[in-house]
């Protein structure tokens, strides 16, 4: 009141000091209020806690998922977007070494929160990302990924740990049953020679690839149903994956049970059967070759099939088998 009176009654000496004081006080209060509101709003909109939480939680889950072979599927529900400071779900990215959480979209996010995990040697971690309130983290056979739904009918191969160093002392045996597969065999031998596998005289043979002509329209990858069934099955699966990914004739795997050729879906003829019998007899009689197994790749009688592509598919599968992804 006194100030207001002083403002309009200019005859009061000294009253302007009080006025100046009050003005400065109001300015100070205004500045403090603005700073407070900005600070609280910044805190309210800060999503760093949830990004940190999700990266840690999903990273630890990824660690647990990679403990053992076997399938692992987890449905992970995020907090409702409306309850998050950013009002939208974060973008969660899975890489081979870590889980990263960004404010969606990732390209506009400044700093992600990350959490490392140790991938199993027999598993391939697919670079994947999601922006959703429900995340499905899955490890099925050799594929580890995150998505918004569980993978269905995915062609995956068993996640056995078959990693082994390949060098001059590791060799691969390539046998052809007929002349039609000879170009593919030559191409495959050339690739092995280029990579230096088996160049040492005392090299140990790890796998034998038998190339033959199939009596069907598709590629048959045949492997034995013996003690090496697991590892040979994995190799066959990888070769079939490579063929199917190359947009060529469809490939499928088949087990071979000795003395049951009629019931096998292998349709092996006598020549192919003899090759297998000769090989298996040689291997079983030599204790040094106990870890060796065979895989028969039966190609359809189709001149359009490129021998180079066949050789490349087999060599790529071989490297995926022996070298950890």
């Amino acid at each position: 009141m006194q100030v207001a009176y002083a403002m309009f009654n200019k005859n009061k000496r000294g009253m302007e000091d009080k006025l100046y004081f009050v003005i400065w006080e109001l300015i100070a209060i205004g500045m403090v209020t603005v700073i407070l509101v900005l600070a609280v709003r910044g805190i309210a909109q800060n999503s760093s806690y949830w990004k940190k939480y999700y990266s840690t939680d999903l990273g630890l889950m990824a660690d647990i998922a990679n403990i053992n072979q076997g399938d692992f599927v987890v449905n992970y529900q995020l907090k409702k977007s409306a309850d998050l400071p950013s009002a939208k779900p974060p973008e969660i990215v899975l890489t081979p070494t870590r889980v990263e959480v960004y404010d969606a979209p990732k390209e506009e996010s400044k700093v992600p929160y990350t959490w490392p995990y140790a991938r199993s040697r027999s598993v391939e971690s697919v670079n994947s990302s999601t922006i959703a309130e429900l995340i499905v983290m899955s490890k099925i056979d050799t594929i580890f990924r995150i998505d918004t739904s569980a993978p269905t009918d995915a062609m995956t191969c068993p996640a056995f740990d078959t990693a082994q160093a390949l060098d001059a002392k590791t060799a691969f045996n390539i046998i052809t049953v007929d002349d039609q597969t000879r170009p593919a065999a030559t191409a495959l031998e050339s690739i092995m020679k280029t990579k230096g596998y088996g160049s040492d005289p005392g090299a140990k043979t790890l796998t034998t690839f038998i190339l033959a002509t199939s009596h069907t329209d598709s590629v048959l990858i045949i492997y034995p149903a013996d003690t090496h069934m697991s590892i040979a099955g994995k190799m066959s699966c990888l070769i079939a994956q490579e063929f199917n990914g190359a947009n060529g004739p469809h490939a499928r795997t088949v087990t071979y049970v000795p003395d049951q050729n009629d019931n096998n879906q292998t349709a092996l003829d006598a020549a192919q059967q003899q090759v297998i019998d000769t090989y298996t007899a040689a291997v079983s009689s030599d204790p040094q070759r106990s870890g060796e197994f065979w895989v028969l790749v039966a190609l359809p009688n189709n001149p359009a099939i490129d021998p180079g592509t066949v050789a490349k598919s087999i060599s790529t599968a071989l490297e995926k088998y022996y070298i950890a992804p």
């Binding site: 000294g14 009080k18 939480y53 630890l60 647990i64 990679n66 403990i67 490392p116």
Partner: protein, 189 residues
């Protein structure tokens, strides 16, 4: 009366100190209220998540239940958790199986000792490390009592297991009882 220009006014007048003193309490109380407001908000905002113990548990269980050191059937690839293959107790194999990037994220020592003897003593058999250098660095810091973001916590877990030593030839059995000690180091940040 002619008004003096502002810059010529004498602001050092009598009575102003009394005025300031009278308002000092008001200003002080205002500052205290603002400070309390900030402290209250800061107290209830929690941005810290301490997962060190669960990290230690996860790493220790990963070592114990995976095929890192446990015996695995070469044909079926079945892992026998509880049977330690002594051939796998070496730094290289362990780091190939548990590869963290960055290596500072976790470090561990895996030690095999005999089962407690009748005298109460235990015989050392074998040990290996995950990220040996990092483990030793953290160990020195912990032993020195250094705390803070550069230091770590240590968790020790013991498991009674069966050891498989392929170098033992018959008639002795390659399987015998032993104790697995897993010491895990988790950094504070």
């Amino acid at each position: 009366m002619k008004k003096k220009p502002l810059f010529r006014r004498n602001l050092a007048r009598k009575g102003q100190v009394k005025y300031m003193l009278e308002n000092a309490f008001r200003i002080f109380f205002l500052m205290a209220a603002l400070l309390a407001f900030f402290l209250l908000i800061s107290y209830y905002i929690n941005n810290r998540i301490d997962t060190r113990l669960i990290q230690a548990e996860t790493l220790a269980n990963r070592i114990v239940y995976s095929d890192t050191i446990m015996q695995q059937d070469p044909t079926l690839f079945r892992t026998y958790a509880g049977i330690v293959n002594l051939e796998k107790i070496n730094d290289t194999l362990i780091e190939q199986s548990l590869s963290y990037t960055p290596t500072r994220h976790a470090a561990a020592k895996i030690k095999i000792i005999s089962k407690p003897q009748s005298t109460g003593t235990e015989v050392f058999i074998k040990e290996a490390y995950l990220n040996r250098k990092q483990f030793n660095d953290f160990y020195v810091m912990i032993r020195s009592g250094i705390q803070g973001s550069e230091s770590a916590i240590q968790a020790v877990k013991k498991f009674p297991v069966t050891c498989y030593d392929k170098d033992i030839s018959p008639p002795a059995s390659p399987y015998y009882y032993c104790t697995l000690v897993v010491e895990v180091m988790i950094p504070n940040t």
